[in-house]
Symmetry: C2
C-alpha cells in the first residue's frame, strides 16, 4: 500500500444532485481517517482549480455535525462546472498548469465527482500523468441523477431523485383524482432525462395498493408517436376521468425531432413577439387539449427533482458517501485512472459492493434503460425495472430543521 | 348543550390541500368521542351529496393507525367539487332534496371543509334551515392554501404549502447557485395565488443564514411593471450571477391583464398551430431572455405545492384536525351558520385559539396580504410577514413509509 503522504483535492462537476455532497463527505472522512493533512475542495470544479480557487474543507467540516449537515445539503457544496478539458495536442499549457497547481498545494490525489463529461476529465488527466511520468492519482466518483454511466449498476443521486419523483407523482395523482368528477382531466408530468429514461421510469414506482400510478410512461428509449399517444388517452378516458401521463423531456418523434422542440418553433411567440420556451409536457398538453377537448395540466419537475434532499433516500446517501470513501481507499492503494463502481451482488436482499473500473471504458459512455424492461406497447415498465429501482429508494434521512426549514451547509 | 343524537356528514370542497384530510379526521374523532352513531362522508362534496353518494367513515377509520394515515394523506380523501349552490329563488327543489337526503340518513349536522365558495354553501344551507324551521346545523371548517378567508387569522393548508414552497425554493436556489459560474442565470419560480399573494409571500421564509433567498418576490397585491422587473434583474446581475425571482401566478399589469395571459395570445401557437398554454413564470422567462440575453429557467410549483403532505407542517396538521374537532363541538353546542376561525392570541410564543364566526361575514370575502407588509419597492416582504408565517410552518409529521414511499389512505 502506497500511502498518500501529501494532500488531496476533491471537485464536483456537471448537474448537481441531492447526494453529491455525501460523496464529498465520504472523500473527506476517509482521507482524514487515513491521516491526509489537507483536503482541498475545488470551487466550481476543474474550472475553479485552474484559477487556484480552492478551499480547505477542514474549515467547514470540523466535526460530525457538519458532516451530517453536508450530507443533507442538496446541490454541489463546492459548486460545479461544465468545463470540458481540451485535447492535449496543442493545449499542453492547460495540463501543465493543472499539475503546477497540484504541486503548489502538494496535492497527490485528485477526486472528481460527476457524470460522463467529468469522467472524461479524469481520463485525460490520468492519461497525461501516465504519459508524463507523474505520480498523482486521479479517481472518478460517479454521480448523476440520469443514472446513465456505464459499468456501474447505478449512480449515486439517482435513487433520491427516483424517490422524489415517485413521491411527488403519488401526491399529484391524489390531487387530480380528488377534483376530477365529471370531465376527463389529463395531467402530464415531465421528468428529466434527455437521452436515458431512468428518471422517468421511476414514475412506475408510484403504482401500488394506494395509488393507480401513471396511465402511461414514455421514455426516450422508444420513438414517440403523437397519434398513438392521443388515441391511448381517448381510450383510457372511456373508463377513467383522470388520466396521468409521465413523459421524459427527451422523447423524440420518428423523424428525430424532440417533442419539446415542437413547442418552440418560429411561430411560437407571445403577444410581444417573445419566443415561447416550453417543455414537452406543456407541448403535449396543448396537443391533447386541442385534439380531445379534455382539460389538461402539465407539471415539469425541473430542478426540484435533482435538488430535493429533503426526500433523499438513505440507501443513496449511504452509497454516495461510501463511493467517496472507496475512491480514497483506491487511490491510497495506488489506483489511478479509475472510477468507483457499484456491483449489485444480490437483489433480495439488496446488496451492492464497491469496486473500481478502468476510466477508459466509462468516459463518454452512456447506459440507457434496457428495451426489454419496457412493455411491448412502449407505455410502461416491467417488473425488472421495479426490482432494479426499488432498493435504491429505501430509507430516509431526516433533514436538520431550523426555524421550520431544512438547514444546509454553505460556503462563506 | 343540545346533544346531537343522530348522525353527521362531512364534505370537502374546492382545491385540495396537504392537510384537508386532517380536518376530516378531527370531525370524525370528535364526533365518535361524543357518541355520534354514524359519520358519513360526502363523495365529491355537495355534488355527491345530492346524488346520495355517501360513505361511512367508520368503514375506513377503524382505529388510531388509520386516522394517522388519513392525516398524512394529501388532497381530498372524500373527493372535492366546485359546485356552487344555486340561489334559493326558483331552485327550491335543490334545497328540498338536500334536506330530504339528510332526513334519509338521519343527519343532524353538516360540516363542510373548504374555502370561500364552500362557505357560501354553508351560508345558503343554514339560511334555508333558519327560514324553514329546520333544526339541522351547518358548520364551515376553513381550508385553503390561498389563505384568503377573512376573519380567521389563517387557514389550515396554508402553513404546509408555505413550508413546501420555502423548502423547495431553498433547494432550487442551491441548485442554481452551484452551477452559475460565469453568465447570469435567472430562475423564475411561479407560485399559486390568483388574487391573494400569501403563498408567494412564503418565499420570503427561504432567506436565512444558509440561503440568500429570492432576489425579488412579486405578489398580485401590487401592479406588476415589466420594465421595472427587467431593470431590477439587470441591476442585480451587476454583482450576482444567479438571480432568483418568485412570482405569483396572479400578477397583473396596470391595464388589468394577467401576465400569464400575455403568453397565451392568438399569436402564441406551436408548429402545429396548437395554442400554447403557459404560466407567468415561463412568459417572464421569455421576456428576460430576450431583453437581457441571460440564461433563464422557469419552475412552476403547480399542484405539487398543495399536495406535498410529505412536507406538511405539524402546526398546520394539528390545527386542521383541531378545527374539525372544534366544528363538531360548536354544532353540539347548538351553533349553526358559522365557520371555525383561528384567533392568534400570541405571536411569541405562538398561540392560536379556536372560535367560530358568523358565516355571513365570511362567505365570498377575501383577505389579501396587507400592503403595509410589502416593501416600498414592491419586491419584498417585511418582518411582519415573516412573524406571521413562521409559526405556521413549524414542526414536522413524518410520513408512514411503505416500500420507500409515503403511504396514503384511499377510498376503495
Amino acid at each position: 500500500m502506497d500511502k498518500i503522504m501529501g494532500n488531496i483535492v476533491v471537485g464536483q462537476s456537471g448537474g448537481p444532485t441531492a447526494v453529491i455532497n455525501a460523496s464529498v463527505a465520504g472523500v473527506y472522512k476517509a482521507a482524514k481517517d487515513m491521516g491526509v493533512p489537507h483536503v482541498y475542495g475545488m470551487v466550481h470544479g476543474i474550472q475553479g482549480f485552474l484559477e487556484r480557487n480552492l478551499i480547505s474543507l477542514e474549515e467547514y467540516l470540523d466535526g460530525g455535525i457538519s458532516i451530517e449537515l453536508l450530507k443533507r445539503t442538496p446541490s454541489a457544496f463546492l459548486g460545479t462546472c461544465r468545463y470540458k478539458l481540451p485535447e492535449l495536442a496543442g493545449n499542453e499549457e492547460v495540463y501543465e498548469l493543472i499539475f503546477k497547481v497540484m504541486e503548489e498545494f502538494s496535492i497527490e490525489a485528485f477526486f472528481y465527482i460527476g457524470g460522463n463529461d467529468s469522467m472524461d476529465t479524469v481520463k485525460m488527466l490520468s492519461d497525461y500523468a501516465a504519459s508524463h511520468g507523474r505520480k498523482e492519482r486521479f479517481v472518478g466518483i460517479p454521480k448523476t441523477v440520469d443514472n446513465d454511466l456505464p459499468v456501474t449498476d447505478h449512480c449515486p443521486g439517482y435513487g433520491s431523485a427516483a424517490k422524489y419523483i415517485a413521491t411527488s407523482l403519488k401526491e399529484v395523482i391524489r390531487d387530480v383524482q380528488s377534483t376530477g368528477l365529471a370531465n376527463p382531466t389529463v395531467l402530464l408530468v415531465e421528468i428529466m432525462g434527455r437521452h436515458a429514461g431512468w428518471l422517468t421510469a421511476a414514475a412506475a414506482l408510484a403504482k401500488g395498493e394506494d395509488c393507480d400510478g401513471a396511465d402511461a410512461i414514455y421514455l426516450p428509449e422508444k420513438v414517440f408517436d403523437i397519434d398513438g399517444f392521443v388515441e391511448h388517452i381517448k381510450e383510457v378516458a372511456k373508463h377513467k376521468n383522470t388520466i396521468v401521463i409521465a413523459v421524459s423531456e427527451g422523447i423524440k418523434l420518428a423523424d428525430g425531432r424532440f417533442v419539446c422542440e415542437l413547442g418552440g418553433g418560429a411561430d411560437s411567440v407571445d403577444v410581444f413577439g417573445h419566443k415561447q420556451l416550453s417543455g414537452c409536457g406543456l407541448t403535449l398538453a396543448g396537443i391533447v387539449s386541442e385534439r380531445t377537448g379534455f382539460k389538461t395540466r402539465a407539471i415539469e419537475l425541473s430542478t426540484l427533482q435533482r435538488a430535493a434532499s429533503h426526500m433523499a433516500s438513505l440507501t443513496d446517501i449511504d452509497e454516495a458517501m461510501n463511493a467517496g470513501c472507496h475512491g480514497v481507499k483506491a487511490a491510497v492503494e495506488g489506483q489511478t485512472g479509475v472510477m468507483v463502481v457499484m456491483n449489485r451482488i444480490s437483489e433480495a436482499p439488496y446488496f451492492c459492493e464497491m469496486g473500481t473500473y478502468d476510466i477508459h471504458n466509462i468516459a463518454n459512455g452512456e447506459k440507457c434503460v434496457p428495451l426489454g424492461w419496457i412493455t411491448e406497447d412502449g407505455r410502461g415498465l416491467k417488473q425488472e425495472l421495479l426490482n432494479y429501482v426499488r432498493p435504491l429508494i429505501m430509507g430516509e434521512v431526516l433533514p436538520v430543521y431550523v426555524d421550520g426549514l431544512p438547514a444546509h451547509l454553505v460556503r462563506h
